[in-house]
Symmetry: C2
Subunit: 811 residues, 2 copies
């Protein structure tokens, strides 16, 4: 069942009912200011950091779930309703929500009054615009009252929901010329305030929640709205809100546009006040003026559209499959940009108060956005590297505001360092910016202890070598990519974290997954050394990768697939010997990606086993069979009910590793089957099963052991986005940047006969036409560049042209 | 304006409208299992620890505020409503809520159907009973459906509201014979489950929130209730709830009683399961059976009442003033017991996930309950002492589950150690148990490093001596009792805590408040040494106290009052020299209590200044004038808006210090004026101003600079309870335990002519009749014990009698 449709031309998903199976959301803003907004206008916004600079409140897991946002109420003689359906939930005659690139537009029509609200963050600004268009489509005059409503968060979102002995006493506002200023704590250490204004005279306002709603009323029944008049309340402590009241009269056919601005302002300390206790509002007033006309907002909207056109112009596929096109051209890169902005911080599943930037997460996310915003990718790489320790290990997370490592979670996730190499190489291959390798980067954020980025990468590589176990395989530490496989944390206390209670100090538990990564990344690293003329180092690295490959073949392969790990006791995990958890997905992916077993059939056997044991209608489960009991020696993975999360859920992040592995075997049909099964656009028709947005990936889909197989959880902020983008663009469509040009090596379903790709790479537009006259999956028979045939499928990057036309004939 | 009345005979506060100015709550349970319940059945319950063993969910600061609890719905042909008003909010024909000692009874009548719900935790059990009495007072037969509803918290209340990527996947239940078992995480490290059952066959049930409510519905409009039928849903992940449906038919006049049990069970690991995946329910079944009859519940209720009669029998006053009597005899000791149970953890202002037990808090709380439960007071003293360091300093907080010091907050609040002496002495004076001084107690919870409690007390005393500043006054450290006076933490970063950012390492900032405490407690400590025959040590301690007294007189007195502190730069705080914060309340209280300046008029001047500058209609503000700007050298105190919290709010905790000080000057009218101004029973008539419960103290009442002067915040969990109990019983009514008997030394308003007090002390009942024929405030002229006149007002404790009659003539 569908709840809307894709409007590919406008790059929008159009939702046609407020009653989606779960709130379907979008993100506003892409620089310093961000908003989350659902299809019924729920959500919140913040400046840079969702914990420390939260502008508006949001209650996670509320009843009903999505209750709180930027709401409007329309009140007339007949009663009142919300043009975004929530929170009043009165039926609308027409409803439509368009989630676009960085904006959301919700239309609500009732009794011939059409309301269209555009929510957006203009480029370069720290404000949300709420443009309300009201149109009387009736034949009679309409008189009604419009109320706005937002609830301020008292900045620190964690304190805001826990520290009531403080927060109930500090709330403070000013009201000036119809604009409501939120200045809680501004008198002390905060030099920032927020404001909510409108480009129209107001007939009333409220800033105290109880006054506006009434003490016992929900958001669906504000007293002020029911009575049709504001209380003009001035908040003093308790819960400050902002609500404007505007009386409106529309002649038949008349249209009116109101522009509400919700903004964040930082003042220099010396300019905080205009009089004692009165905040300096100049910066806010300037913004209110700048966007006080329809024209100004319209231009800002066009600029935002154009910005996204640019961002999305780097890779455009045109195929026979519109679902593929919309994933690759629009929604997958859009989601990748969101993971760049948010890491795992703020979504409808991540509350914005918990995790910082993950070392591993951010390096992987980078694969998905480096071609869109290479300069920011560069900055991100250097930020991440700066949290690395001198021995090559790394803080597992760091805080976005301070960019410092997070002590509470600490280090010891032994895959972390290797991801940095992968990210750095992806960046260099995209940009050709080898200079980044010479950039001086601190260790553990200590400016007195610096090393070049290249040195950081060497230390990353050596960290694995310095931490090998009894089989010469990498020690797993607290956990590798699978945070829930905790082989050194035997936890019996439910009040402690599975990851931080590391209590088995032996150096025995080994990860075949990290071994695969090491080989894969080692080969890449050797290539980099070679390219920069360090042949000796290249040989050394390659030699170590080869040694590791041998160890994997010797100790890391079961009968038909790669093992997952050795546990604390040296026993196998992910082996046919085990009763449960016989086969895991991760090592099958990365070991084959690393080329292990391709020449001797082991790789194919492993991937066939994946198909046989892990494949379901909704994607590949993480392992099989699910653990039915808690295992002290395995940790959190066995704590989940069967079919959920790492315990045999479809953990989408690792599915693309299998897709990539399949392309290395040339099995394009399999690769694409796996792609299609979890790509959201392909799931649109089963939205009642999948439940989450059909335009973005979710972290997990319930596996075959779960009661609701196919139901997704945790959409938006997941490494799934980057890796699927990697799989589809570089390995299935097969357009891969290399140090000095593009490799074109598709691996597609046999029945695809033609694909066109536009790729902008280092300033040059490559128009690539791929033809598959013989119905093969893989193999390039002929390549012409600007009508000149060349040998091989490597397109060297020469800078004399701005457009190149490439024709690729498969066969 | 009143919203109810005191029923003193039943020891209940009777609320007559659901629309109280704020949720007015009560506590259920007194041992391991606790519930918070509002007058409309909102709230939640937990086992031992409100963070780690939360049974049911509660959303703080929800909209409307108090939305979530143990709810019932009644549905008939006409519609549906809640007999506790919330959450449906349909008007009832009659409503009454009786908050009693450890139970709450809510009556709701609609259309001649009377519903009375008794909520209680029986003694010795970890269950809540919800006894629902239904009575048809109509002349026709009534047929209707009763729905129950609670929402399970997934145990860890913090994870429950932040970690949705886990919590949405783990929810699990079993339904067996009408009982709903909540077993989330039981398959792994948890050996506990909860259950919700009823002593009646059920006609349907729900365990999945969305199924019961409908995805878009609030608690006021459950789909199952609207449709009149349960969905018989089985939760798998997401949000497990428990709801029963029971069809009921009542003849005219017929009454029916249903007993719902919400319980917590811990199973030994080896008895967790009765079959694979099926929890062992024996313990729950035993409890369901034990309380399946009206008789059983009735007896449990009577036992609870009797338990409280016993607890409250230790001090009973009978005066001309019923408000005084109900405070002293019922509500103040009841609140003291709650602060014993909860410390500052779980109330409608404290979320239960934050603070542990405070070192300073718990020592002070003890003053209020030591006479009720001396054996638990003993245990508490030893627990607290065990978190002390060997140098006498102390963790500021410790965790109730582990009883270990809290590293995050750490140490350095320099008043902390001294409170331990006060608590230990109060305990010994109540019980005569000098043996406690020999109890071996660890330092910093290290069993290999022990010392006697007396040694701990010595170290507490010496800690102050070892930390003196330039004027020989105690260094303040991070803060003293006033957590918000942060003289060594110059904070400009709004994202850090004012207390933990200690960044000025000088040893200059001194506290005159700690100096006063030191003298007060030093004298007491000397008394203890003397009593146990250690005259040398007594002399040493007294000598140090005298030296400190001199230093206070020399450097700690301004022109008319005691200074508050010297700041980091050595400048005065709380001086007439200052523009704001000229006079603080705390040192006036404790220095006079210590006897400083009583002999030379300085004390009287100081208290007169308190009256002149700090006294308001609603109590004494903390300081004057309020800080109008943030002061880097003062910290959090200046961050609050004027009139709130420490910035010139009426911080009730310190008001009784002034009451006690006034009694030392013999000014009974003043002492009682201050008592009356903040004692909740006296504020009942102005509940619309005070807003919080008229039966318990709040931490703060907004001061004269605030917009809503007189409005209270943060009721229940405050040291205010213990100190007011101390002030009224020991200093105003003047019955004070000493090491070997009772001192009777009232200080009362001149127009009181007669008071009777029953005091049970060390097993003896003292019936004390105090007469004031000459209308004095202080002074005892004649004392007779069992009709024999004696010299002096000290009643020696002799153990031959079980009852003694004391007559005291003032004059």
């Amino acid at each position: 069942m569908k709840y809307g449709y894709f409007d590919d031309v406008n790059r929008e998903y159009v939702i046609q009912t407020p009653k989606t199976p779960y709130p379907w959301i979008n993100y506003l803003g892409g620089e310093d200011f961000f908003g989350l907004i659902s299809n019924t206008a729920g959500g919140y916004c913040f400046y840079k950091d969702a914990r420390f600079r939260r502008l508006t409140r949001y209650r996670y897991n509320n009843i009903p779930l999505d209750n709180g946002g930027r709401y409007f109420y329309i009140k007339d003689k007949e009663g009142y309703y919300s043009p975004t359906w929530m929170p009043v939930k009165k039926d609308l005659d027409r409803y439509e929500c368009r989630h676009g690139m960085g904006y959301t537009k919700i239309t609500g029509m009732k009794d011939h009054l059409e309301t269209e609200i555009l929510y957006m963050v203009p480029l370069g600004e720290s404000i949300e615009i709420h443009r309300v268009k009201l149109k009387n489509t009736d034949r009679v005059v309409k008189e009604f009252t419009l109320f706005s409503f937002i609830e301020f968060c008292l900045w620190n979102a964690y304190d805001d929901m826990t520290n009531y002995q403080r927060t109930y006493s500090i709330g403070a506002v000013e009201i000036d010329n119809g604009t409501i200023y939120h200045k809680t704590d501004y008198r002390e250490r905060r030099n920032h305030y927020s404001f909510y204004g409108v480009n129209h005279p107001v007939d009333g306002f409220d800033t105290d929640r109880d006054a506006f709603l009434g003490q016992f009323n929900g958001l669906h029944e504000p007293e002020a709205v029911i009575e049709g008049k504001s209380k003009n309340s001035v908040a003093s402590g308790w819960n400050p809100i902002a609500s404007h009241r505007i009386e409106i009269k529309l002649l038949p056919g008349e249209e009116k546009e109101l522009i509400f601005i919700l903004g964040y302002i930082e003042n220099p300390v010396e300019e905080k006040w205009c009089a004692k206790g009165i905040i300096n509002k100049k910066r806010a007033e300037r913004l209110l003026e700048k966007y006080n006309s329809s024209d100004a907002v319209h231009h800002a909207f066009l600029a935002l559209k154009e910005h996204w056109s640019q961002l999305l112009s780097k890779f455009i596929v045109q195929s026979h499959d519109e679902k593929l096109d919309r994933m690759v051209n629009i929604w997958n890169p859009y989601q990748c940009m969101t993971t760049f902005n948010m890491s795992r911080s703020a979504s409808y599943f991540e509350t914005g108060i918990g995790r910082g930037m993950g070392f591993r997460d951010s390096n992987q996310d980078l694969l998905g956005f480096v071609h869109q915003i290479p300069e920011k990718a560069r900055e991100r790489i250097l930020d991440i590297a700066a949290t690395q320790f001198e021995d090559g290990s790394a803080y597992h997370q760091y805080q976005p505001l301070t960019k410092k490592g997070n002590h509470e979670i600490g280090s010891g996730f032994n895959d972390d360092p290797l991801w940095l190499i992968l990210a750095a190489i992806a960046y260099i291959k995209e940009t050709g910016d080898f200079d980044i390798l010479d950039a001086q980067v601190p260790y553990n954020c200590d400016p007195n202890n610096m090393g070049s980025l290249l040195e950081h990468l060497e230390k990353s590589f050596d960290y694995t070598l310095n931490n090998l176990g009894p089989h010469g395989l990498p020690l797993i530490g607290r956990a590798d990519w699978n945070d829930c496989l905790n082989l050194n944390c035997f936890s019996v206390n439910p009040d402690e974290s599975f990851q931080t209670c590391e209590n088995q100090k032996g150096r025995r538990a080994e990860s075949i997954f990290i071994a695969g990564m090491f080989v894969y990344i080692g080969k890449e690293f050797a290539g980099l050394y070679k390219r920069i003329g360090k042949e000796d180092l290249a040989r050394r690295v390659l030699h170590e990768a080869e040694k590791m490959k041998d160890n994997v073949e010797k100790y890391g392969y079961d009968q038909e697939w790669f093992l997952r790990a050795y546990d604390f006791y040296g026993d196998k995990i992910g082996s046919a010997e085990n009763e449960e958890g016989k086969i895991f997905i991760e090592p099958q992916g990365f070991c084959v990606m690393a080329g292990i077993g391709i020449d001797n059939g082991k790789a194919q056997m492993a991937l066939d086993a994946v198909d046989k044991y892990l494949n379901t209608s909704y994607g590949l489960v993480l392992q099989h069979p699910a653990y039915s009991e808690y295992k002290l020696n395995l940790g959190e993975i066995s704590s989940y009910p069967p079919g959920y999360k790492e315990n045999a859920g479809i953990f989408c992040h690792n599915n693309p590793w299998i897709m990539i592995a399949e392309t290395l075997l040339g099995r394009g049909d399999k690769a694409f089957e796996y792609y299609r099964k979890i790509a959201p656009a392909y799931l649109e028709e089963i939205s009642e099963v999948h439940r989450l947005e059909p335009y973005v990936y979710a972290q997990m889909i319930a596996g075959k052991d779960a009661l609701r197989h196919g139901e997704a959880k945790n959409s938006w902020l997941t490494g799934t986005a980057a890796w699927n983008y990697e799989a589809i663009t570089k390995w299935i469509l097969g357009v891969r940047p290399d140090y000095d040009g593009l490799i074109i090596d598709p691996c597609i379903p046999k029945d695809w006969d033609h694909i066109n790709i536009k790729r902008i790479y280092r300033g040059v537009e490559y128009n690539i036409s791929i033809k598959n006259p013989e119905g093969v999956s893989k193999g390039v028979k002929k390549v012409t560049v600007d009508h000149k045939e060349q040998t091989g499928n490597f397109i060297e990057c020469l800078d004399e042209a701005s457009v190149r036309n490439i024709e690729v004939i498969m066969g």
